[in-house]
Every structure is written in structure tokens, then in C-alpha cells.
């Protein structure tokens, strides 16, 4: 009998643990969705948790100094969670599985932002933003409203509100042409630079360059990008065509892919591939492959026109070309007539979750101070003084065993970046907020300390892009959309590639699209227009 009791006790213990496992995740949460911020007196928050990816200086790159200086500057007490960059959104999903692990503040990209907002996990910060110091400061850049209006998304109850704040613009891609290629093809730079070309003229130039080099001119990272705004790597060919669902001028959501504009765009791409203007291998290209072809020293595989990120990347492309011994003069062309403007993506944003006990306080003392136009903004833009940058007189040495040492001496008061703590052979360039893309300027009398360290190319290109771009419009998240979008996009990408490579005509491609996922697209449209 005793033995039986022992056995049953052991079985009971085993089963208790099994039940514990099974019970995991079965709880039915009854937390209310994030309500709007109220106008009660805002107090400084107690210790709170922050989760972000490695766009904020990483732990191995001197984050401790940044945290310490931020703590001193804001007077806040916070705890950081820094998952691995590549697995960031897996970690985010895990964190949201329980109240215990959900952070108070989180950095989310546009897709995840819309998802978590629609599921009721984010605090509505519309009122807090409207009464914020930053908004009232008058330091916001002219396009700030466009950037922030793109952050108005549907909450759990379907009402549009601001559930996140982005302190910088999302940036986007513009088209760069190598001056050396223009010269070689006998095209005057003056005919391209600063001019708004039409497609035929632009295409004519591309043809001239292709004829001169004897091979393709453009090698894009795919015929279509896999994230919004999708058409940004071949904008001159897609022009006004919409890859996915969008709200038309009459306020109805329509499927941009099945419209005539997309058919025309596909025809243009097919013709360009057929004419040898666009590299067939674009279908296999990653962004790094496409960049490598732009820097390539092999005349047979080098590309001459590249649509890529604006601002800091403009400088990086030039530097890389110079490093490879190639002519590094690039001309960023204005959007062609038929395109109108380049598209700026929706920036990742800082959100306060429903787990936060004092969201108003966190907004006021943490998020609103990111663009304070002073010490805190400096920290977010350049990192910690003494670790990532400095102004004292010193000689900075970049160490790399195989290339020898590079040194540069700075005078007292001269802003300069320091070598990266994790890679002493490279200089720091920025922290979380790219100074070129910041949504607010520095306060009067408080000059941007790093302005002198910004390269003229990056700054000029950043300004050029800001003048010639509009912010992408986010798509509201519906159940039907989230369930079917992967299949719909798979069919879309297949059609684009097949048509581009000449294996299908445009009509065959559109027929394929309609027969395979047409009904799914209709279901999505129905849900969007509800």
C-alpha cells in the first residue's frame, strides 16, 4: 500500500509539472486596451523597462556609458533589454506573451507597430503628444507633421490614434547616377543634375549608357522590395503604380496591383530587361549584391545607376567607390516627372505598452526629451561624450593590424567622433537618431555639437531627399489582410519576376494573379472597406 502511495505521489508530481506546462499561455487576459492619455498631473515615472534593437548603441559598443549619461541627463531610472538584432522581433513576440515580461517602452517597426496597436497592447499617446514640449517648441522640421501623421493607426477599437512616436524621419531611396558613366556615354551632367526628366528622356540616357558599356546599367536588389514602400528600388519604372492595397482618391481601398498603372509598370520593366538596361540577375540580388555591383571594379559586372538610401548612404556610396579606386562622383537625380516624388518609409517608433504604470510620465520624461534640442538629443544622436565622441584636444588613432594606424589630431572644443569600442578601426558615426533625419532642430543658442562632423554630401543629399519625397501611407491592419497578405505577395512577386524576365506577358501575369489569389485580394478589400 505504501509503495502504491509513493508511486501515485510520484505520478502526481509529474503530472503537476505537465499541467503547469500545458497551462502556459492559456490565461485569458482581461487588460483593457490602452486608453487615451489624460490631462492629470504628470509625475516622473519610477523605474521602468525599455526594449530596443541595436539601432541604439549596443552593449558591446559602449551602451553602458550612454545609459549612465542619459540617466544623469533625464533623472530617470530605467532598465534596458537588448535582444540580438536579428532575433529582435522574436524576442518582442515572446515579451508580449506575458505581463511579467512585457516592457514599459518598446521600439517597433511600422508593421509590428500597426499589429500591436490593433491588438490593444500600446498606449494611446495622441493627447500626450499634442501637449508635449517638443510639439510646442517650434523646432520641428517642416516635414515633421507628415512623418507623424503616418503614425496614426487603428487601435483595438478601430479608432485612429498615435500609439508611437518617432524622433526621426524614416528616410527612403533616391536614384544615383555615376558621373563617369554619363561622361562616357556623352551625356552632359547639366542635362541630368537638378532637372526633372521625363521617363522617355531618362530611358534614353539609360540606353545610351548601356550601349556604351555593352551591358546592363541597373542592378537592383530585386525587381520589387519585400517591405514597404516596395517599389523604392525601381521607382522610375513603377512610377505611380501601387504594389499593394491603397486608398484611392474617392476614399475606397483598391488593389493597386491589378490596376492599369501596374500593368504599364510591368511592361516598362520587361522592356528594360529585354533591352539590357536592367540586370536579369536582379531577381537573385540581395541589397549587398546590388551594392557590390555598384562598387565593382570588374567592368563586366559594374552597374552605373543605383536607387538606394539617401542621406548618410550617399556619403557611404561615394566613400566605397573611392576606396575601390573608381570615380566617386555621383549625381542624385530628382524624381522623374511621371514619378512625382520619392517615397519615404514610415520610421520605427517608440511605443509605451499597456504594462506601463505611469505612461504619461514616461512620455513626458523619456520620449518627449529625445528631441529636447539639448543634452538629451545630443546623447540620442551622437552617443556618450568621452566614449563615442568628444570635444577635447586629442589625437584619435584608428587601429587595424593589417592596415597600419591612422591618426588625426583635433583641437580643444572641436567635435569629433571616437573609435568604436567594439571595432577600434572604425569611427562612430551616430547613435539612434541620424542627425540628418532628426525631426527637431537644436534649441536656439545650443548648436548641434556634431554638425561640423556631418559630411557635406550626406547633409546635402538628406536635404535633397526631404525636399523631393512624401511619406508612405500605412495600411490599416485587418484580420483578412494579415491572414492573406503573404500568399498575395508571393503571387505578386512571382508575376513581377516572370513578366520582368519575359517568361510571361503582362496579361498572362495578371490572369495568373487573378486566378490564384484574386479571391483572397477581394476578401482583403472587403475587410478594408468595411
Amino acid at each position: 500500500m505504501k509503495k502504491t502511495i509513493k508511486k501515485l505521489t510520484a505520478v502526481g508530481l509529474t503530472l503537476t509539472s505537465v499541467m503547469g506546462l500545458v497551462a502556459c499561455g492559456s490565461s485569458n487576459d482581461s487588460n483593457a486596451a490602452g486608453g487615451s492619455s489624460s490631462s492629470k498631473e504628470v509625475t516622473k515615472p519610477d523605474k521602468f523597462t525599455i526594449m530596443c534593437d541595436s539601432t541604439v548603441v549596443t552593449e558591446t559598443n559602449g551602451a553602458a556609458a550612454f545609459y549612465e549619461q542619459l540617466k544623469t541627463a533625464t533623472g530617470l531610472d530605467f532598465q534596458w533589454t537588448r535582444p540580438d538584432h536579428s532575433g529582435y522581433y522574436d524576442a518582442v513576440a515572446n515579451a508580449f506573451n506575458s505581463d511579467d515580461t512585457m516592457p514599459d517602452v518598446i521600439l517597433l517597426s511600422s508593421d509590428y507597430y500597426a499589429l500591436y496597436a490593433s491588438n490593444g497592447f500600446l498606449w494611446n499617446m495622441t493627447d500626450a503628444w499634442n501637449s508635449s514640449e517638443t510639439k510646442k517648441s517650434g523646432r520641428l522640421i517642416s516635414t515633421a507633421d507628415n512623418v507623424l501623421s503616418a503614425l496614426m493607426v487603428n487601435g483595438e477599437d478601430g479608432t485612429k490614434a498615435m500609439y508611437g512616436f518617432s524622433p526621426y524621419r524614416g528616410n527612403g531611396c533616391c536614384t544615383y547616377i555615376k558621373k563617369a558613366w554619363l561622361d562616357a556615354a556623352g551625356i552632359s551632367t547639366a542635362d541630368v543634375e537638378g532637372k526633372t526628366l521625363d521617363f522617355n528622356t531618362y530611358y534614353g540616357y539609360l540606353k545610351q549608357m548601356a550601349a556604351n558599356k555593352g551591358h546592363y546599367v541597373i542592378s537592383a536588389p530585386g525587381f520589387i522590395s519585400n517591405e514597404a514602400p516596395y517599389t523604392n528600388y525601381l521607382p522610375e519604372f513603377y512610377q505611380q503604380a501601387n504594389y499593394t492595397f491603397y486608398k484611392n482618391s474617392s476614399g475606397q481601398y483598391v488593389d493597386g496591383f491589378s490596376e492599369d498603372k501596374m500593368k504599364e509598370a510591368l511592361q516598362r520593366i520587361q522592356t528594360a530587361v529585354n533591352d539590357g538596361i536592367i540586370d536579369k540577375e536582379s531577381v537573385n540580388n540581395s541589397t549587398s549584391n546590388a551594392r557590390d555591383k555598384f562598387y565593382s571594379t570588374d567592368a563586366g559586372s559594374e552597374s552605373g545607376v543605383f536607387t538606394y538610401w539617401a542621406g548618410t548612404w550617399a556619403n557611404t556610396l561615394k566613400t566605397q567607390l573611392a576606396t575601390k579606386g573608381l570615380d566617386n562622383e555621383l549625381i542624385a537625380i530628382k524624381p522623374i516627372q511621371e514619378l512625382g516624388t520619392y517615397v519615404e518609409r514610415i520610421a520605427p517608433c517608440w511605443c509605451i505598452t499597456t504594462a506601463a504604470k505611469n505612461p504619461e510620465g514616461i512620455f513626458k520624461y523619456f520620449i518627449d526629451t529625445m528631441l529636447d534640442g539639448g543634452d538629451v538629443q545630443t546623447l540620442w544622436e551622437y552617443g556618450a561624450k568621452g566614449t563615442h565622441w568628444d570635444t577635447k584636444a586629442e589625437t584619435v588613432t584608428l587601429a587595424k593590424d593589417d592596415e597600419g594606424k591612422k591618426t588625426k589630431t583635433y583641437e580643444e572644443g572641436q567635435f569629433h567622433f571616437l573609435p568604436q569600442p567594439e571595432s577600434p578601426d572604425k569611427l562612430m558615426s551616430k547613435n539612434h537618431i541620424d542627425p540628418i533625419l532628426a525631426l527637431a532642430k537644436f534649441q536656439d543658442g545650443k548648436e548641434d555639437p556634431g554638425a561640423s562632423a556631418m559630411t557635406e554630401t550626406a547633409k546635402a543629399n538628406g536635404d535633397f531627399f526631404a525636399e523631393n519625397s512624401t511619406v508612405a501611407v500605412p495600411l490599416p491592419m485587418t484580420t483578412a489582410l494579415s491572414e492573406n497578405i503573404t500568399d498575395i505577395n508571393t503571387a505578386r512577386n512571382y508575376v513581377i519576376s516572370q513578366v520582368a524576365l519575359g517568361y510571361m506577358t503582362v496579361d498572362e501575369g495578371m490572369n495568373y494573379y487573378k486566378t490564384t489569389v484574386g479571391s483572397l485580394a477581394d476578401t482583403v478589400l472587403k475587410s478594408l472597406n468595411k
Binding site: 509503495k3 508511486k7 505520478v11 509529474t14 503530472l15 505537465v18 499541467m19 506546462l21 500545458v22 497551462a23 502556459c24 499561455g25 492559456s26 490565461s27 485569458n28 487576459d29 482581461s30 513576440a93 508580449f96 506573451n97 506575458s98 517597426s109 511600422s110 508593421d111 509590428y112 500597426a114 499589429l115 491588438n119 490593444g120 497592447f121 483595438e156 551591358h215 530585386g222 520589387i224 540586370d279 536579369k280 540577375e281 531577381v283 537573385n284 570588374d298 563586366g300 559586372s301 491592419m477 489582410l481 494579415s482 491572414e483 497578405i485 503573404t486 500568399d487 505577395n489 508571393t490 512577386n493 512571382y494 513581377i496 519576376s497 524576365l501 517568361y503 490564384t516 489569389v517 483572397l520
Partner: protein, 489 residues
């Protein structure tokens, strides 16, 4: 009455034989009651299936099961009772196991008749329903019928109880005709005493057991999400919706399933065939230094990462001037225009098979070469004396000796055909997705292709993949038993 063991005449009402100690009366079976175990597993699965179901196929997600009962403790108690039964069966307490099985039946009936179930309209919004009420009166114009879960649970529980009285294993065991008293102590002992006797081995095994439970079995509990609409923190029960969508409405699922089988099986046949041929050729080489060099060269690609292999082949198969193969073929006048090997649906599969053969054939030869080296040279000498030439020796000595290994390798690899991912993922692109998308890449795209990962649906696809994989493993095991005389699991 005589003792069944030693034949001694037994006294009346004797419980044990006074001579050999054999128990008098019915011989107790020591076999695991397979039918009872299978029945309980079926009953456990039945708990996940719908008990009541909306009759409208369009509203298949309107289903009720233990997973959305208003008092989840009932589900846990039901599972607890079944697990207790399974444990009792495992320790050969068959008759005791009937009690918890019966209790689970009572829990099921009480839950079905007396409990409320949640009908979800969204993550937090739900209405409470009584299943009997739904069945008799319907709800908001919808009528309901008894779901498959009820039948599965009933069949499972009946088998769980009836199986305790049926010992199908005894038909597969040979009677060793040895008196139990002459058997080893180990066989005669009870389970707990055996465990105690070998306790240190069990202690050594403990870390492995914990690791397996933690990393192999714990994640399996996530398969319940295949029956839910996965919404962060609040997944709710949708019955067989995902399976219905997968089999009837999914655009790319069957393509992916077909591609998985086609690519895997053809790859397996080609790789095995190529490995056999190369092994036979290597076996014929008499210069040892040359043989070793060739072996090393053919092994090397196996150690390269698939990402690197894909990059190399993308480069040499390019349609541009860097594409060595196309330039060569055009130079030889074989083709006029370059072939887009990795971007054209007509060529992608062939290219994929070629890359696989190039990468893995060398590694596959190891086992065959080991077998070949074990063939007695006497056989070859004898054949040579009898006038057999090389070809005849290959046909009549080498291949028959190799046959068993070929079949073994083939069977072992057949069990892995559903696990095709990396090689496809790095060589596929949008233009060839129709011929290259396999189940694993399909699940990957569905999970990470958009911000809102449909974990419920992709878990259902994964579950189906695992089910097919399990059938293949069991089929291979059966084939292995037939061919080799012993199983692989």
C-alpha cells in the same frame, strides 16, 4: 491440479506451487497494453477536436472543445486523468488504469452536459454557451452538430478501457519455455526494483532526459496552437479551421507539399545513385595516394555552408559575363543566349539537383567505401581464377555485397525527406517560387513574411508535415524490418 511450471501436483486452494514457487491461477501478462495506450492517446487528441461544431462550413471556426471551456480546470483534470492512466499502463498496473480512464470519461460527460463554453467574437469578446443548448436550439440562426471530437474521445476511452483486457503483444512473443525461476534476476524483478538496482545509470541518464523533455517534448505542447486563432497572449479556439483552410483553400500549400516530395525524393535517388557510382569507381583505383586525394576533393564541398555554395553557383551560372558556364556553352556554340539556370522554372530543378549531387555525393560515399573495404579479397581472387572479368566481378560480388548498405542508407534518408529547407531557401527566388517552394520555406514565409505572423496556421502546417514525416519514419521502419530483419526506431 498441476503446476504449469514444474508439473508438481498442487494441494487444493494453493496459491503458489510449494516446489517451484510459481503463482497458481491465471498467468499475469507483463506486456504493455498497446491498444489501451493507443486508445488513451486518441482520447487525449480528442480533447483538442471540436465537440460541437457550426453546421455551416463557412463558420467552421465556430467550434467548441475543452480548449475554450469556461472552466479550463476541467480540461486539465481530463488530461491529468488520461496521463495517470498512461503512467499506470507504463508500470503495468493495467487494471488500476481503468479507474482514471473512467474518471476522464466522467469529466468529459460533466463538461459536455454541465459546463459553459466560450464562443469568441474577438480576442476579449466572448459569449458563454451550453453545448446541449447549442445542439438543441442553435444560436443566432446557426445550427450546430456534434463534432468529431466527441466520437474520437468516446472511441479513445473505450479502447483505453477495453485494451486493458487485450494483450496483442503476446502473439508476437516467442515462448522461451524456461521456468521463470531459472531466468535472470533482472527479468524477474519488478520495474521499481530494476530502476533502483540500476539507479546510477538512471542518474547518468537524467541530464539527457531533462534535455529531451525540455527541448523536444516541451515545444510539442505548442501544437495546440494549430487549433487556435493565434493572437498575442490571447489565442482562442477555432477548431479545425486551419486544417480546413490548408486542405481546401490554400493557394500554395499543395504546391509546397508536391515540391517537397518531388525535390526530396529525386534528390535522394540521385545522391544515393551518384554516391554508389563514385564509391565503385574509387574502389577500382589502386594508387592509394591518388585515391586519397580524390576522396578528399569529393568530400570537401560537404563542409561548405549552403549560403556559400549558393553564392558560388549563382556566380558561375550567371547570365552575365561573370557566368562561366553560360560563357563556355556560348563559346562552344551549344547555345546562342545564356540560360538563366537559377531564374527559369524549366531549369531550376535540374540545377538544384546538380548542386546537391555536387555538394553531398562525396560525403555519401563514406559508408559505401567502408562496406566495400569489408568485402573479402578471397572472393575477388576466386572469381578471377574462375575467369571473371572486372565487370562480372562488379556484378556478382561488389554490388550484392553493397546492396544491403544501399537499402539501409536509402531507407534512413527517406525518413528525412520532409525536412528540406536550407538548400532550397538559399537557391530559390521569386521567379521560381512555383517549383521551389517547399513546406519548410512555405511555413517560414508565412511566419515571417508579414508583421502579423499567423502562428496558428503555420503550426497546423507544421503539424501536418510532422504527421507525414511520422508516417514515412514508420513506413521506413517497417521496410527496414523486412529488408534488414531489424527496425531503425
Amino acid at each position: 491440479m498441476q503446476c504449469k511450471s514444474c508439473g508438481t501436483e498442487l494441494p487444493k486452494k494453493a496459491k503458489v506451487c510449494p516446489k517451484c514457487g510459481e503463482l497458481v491461477g491465471k498467468q499475469k501478462s507483463d506486456n504493455l497494453k498497446v491498444i489501451a495506450v493507443a486508445g488513451l492517446v486518441i482520447a487525449l487528441i480528442g480533447g483538442l477536436l471540436p465537440f460541437v461544431q457550426n453546421t455551416d462550413v463557412e463558420l467552421i471556426s465556430d467550434a467548441y472543445s475543452f480548449m475554450n471551456i469556461d472552466v479550463p480546470a476541467m480540461w486539465y483534470l481530463y488530461m491529468l486523468a488520461i496521463v495517470v492512466s498512461l503512467v499506470l499502463l507504463a508500470v503495468k498496473k493495467d487494471m488500476f488504469s481503468i479507474i482514471p480512464t473512467a474518471i476522464s470519461g466522467i469529466i468529459f460527460i460533466v463538461s459536455f452536459v454541465g459546463m459553459n463554453f466560450r464562443g469568441y467574437e474577438s480576442r476579449k469578446l466572448y459569449n458563454l454557451h451550453s453545448l446541449t443548448d447549442l445542439l438543441s436550439n442553435g444560436y443566432e440562426g446557426s445550427s450546430y452538430s456534434v463534432g468529431c471530437g466527441v466520437y474520437v474521445v468516446i472511441i479513445g476511452l473505450i479502447l483505453g478501457i477495453a485494451g486493458c483486457f487485450i494483450d496483442i503483444m503476446k502473439y508476437f512473443k516467442k515462448d522461451i519455455n524456461v521456468d521463470s525461476k531459472y531466468m535472470t534476476n533482472s527479468i524477474n524483478r519488478k520495474v521499481w526494483s530494476k530502476i533502483y538496482y540500476h539507479r546510477w545509470f538512471y542518474v547518468m541518464f537524467l541530464p539527457v532526459l531533462i534535455m529531451i523533455l525540455l527541448f523536444n517534448y516541451w515545444p510539442m505542447l505548442g501544437c495546440r496552437y494549430a487549433f487556435t486563432k493565434y493572437i498575442i497572449r490571447s489565442p482562442y479556439y477555432v477548431g479545425l479551421l486551419h486544417f480546413n483552410t490548408m486542405f481546401t483553400n490554400d493557394v500554395f500549400f499543395w504546391d509546397a507539399f508536391r515540391n517537397t516530395l518531388l525535390l526530396s525524393i529525386v534528390k535522394l535517388i540521385l545522391n544515393t545513385g551518384a554516391a554508389v557510382i563514385i564509391s565503385l569507381l574509387l574502389n577500382e583505383i589502386t594508387n592509394l595516394a591518388f585515391k586519397k586525394t580524390v576522396q578528399t576533393i569529393v568530400y570537401l564541398p560537404h563542409f561548405m555552408s549552403w549560403v556559400v555554395v549558393a553564392s558560388i553557383f549563382r556566380l558561375i551560372l550567371s547570365v552575365n559575363s561573370s557566368g562561366m558556364i553560360n560563357q563556355m556553352l556560348m563559346g562552344m556554340g551549344v547555345i546562342d543566349n545564356p540560360i538563366f539556370f537559377l531564374g527559369d522554372v524549366r531549369y531550376w530543378r535540374g540545377t538544384f539537383f546538380f548542386i546537391n549531387v555536387w555538394k553531398d555525393t562525396g560525403w555519401g560515399t563514406i559508408l559505401f567505401l567502408a562496406t566495400l573495404s569489408g568485402i573479402s579479397p578471397d572472393l575477388y581472387e576466386a572469381a578471377q581464377i574462375d575467369g571473371a572479368n572486372r565487370w562480372k566481378r562488379l556484378i556478382y560480388i561488389t554490388l550484392p555485397a553493397l546492396a544491403n548498405t544501399i537499402i539501409t542508407v536509402f531507407i534512413l534518408n527517406l525518413a528525412k525527406v520532409m525536412n528540406l529547407f536550407e538548400s532550397v531557401f538559399v537557391t530559390m527566388n521569386d521567379a521560381v517560387v512555383n517549383v521551389s517552394n517547399v513546406l519548410q520555406t512555405y511555413v517560414y514565409r508565412k511566419t515571417f513574411g508579414s508583421g502579423n505572423s499567423d502562428y496558428g496556421y503555420t503550426t497546423a502546417v507544421g503539424l501536418f508535415k510532422s504527421f507525414v514525416g511520422m508516417i514515412l519514419v514508420l513506413g521506413c521502419n517497417y521496410a527496414s524490418k523486412k529488408v534488414r530483419g531489424r527496425g531503425i526506431v
